[in-house]
Symmetry: C2
Subunit: 109 residues, 2 copies
Amino acid sequence: MMRDLHWSPKEKRIARQAFEKALHKEFETAIETTKKMATQITDVDDLWKLEEYLTNCRKGITQKYDYRYAMLVYVCNRLIVEERISFEDLNGLKEGKLNYIRSPIHISS
Amino acid sequence: MMRDLHWSPKEKRIARQAFEKALHKEFETAIETTKKMATQITDVDDLWKLEEYLTNCRKGITQKYDYRYAMLVYVCNRLIVEERISFEDLNGLKEGKLNYIRSPIHISS
């Protein structure tokens, strides 16, 4: 099962680097968007739009970036789909994991 | 009882003007603070500080600006205490209401 995959120390390092790279980019985008939205605030509706953006942003990032090994294949899959990382970033992972990451993944509850 | 005070049309107009004036100032301050905080964002901690500020700001304003006539004496009292309006803004209200607004007020449940 995907949730029970073994991650070697080298694979953990590779996954962590890819994860951190994507997270860093996500933060950069959020900061840039926030600064832009703030300069464009002219009334209170704009103010609450920024609040809503930030709240959704924080929730989305917290939900997406789940660095438990049991979840890492799903996370990598999503980051690939969203083009936040590439397969080059995952170079060094075992083929079995890469196959899972390449495939559409459905998390069963 | 303060909650049962009668507000004449003229008093309602005066109270509404004072209320709107204070609310407008509150929004202006929030917009100014947000723009300043946004320019100072350098990392993700700053980003979530701005989110927290905006969330608290929205909740605080919603809670404070309660324009039900049953609550208006309490609201005016608070706006006076916070120096968001002055007694000049309330000029024209009947003396009984002004006395309530001048006094420390405790809302009984």
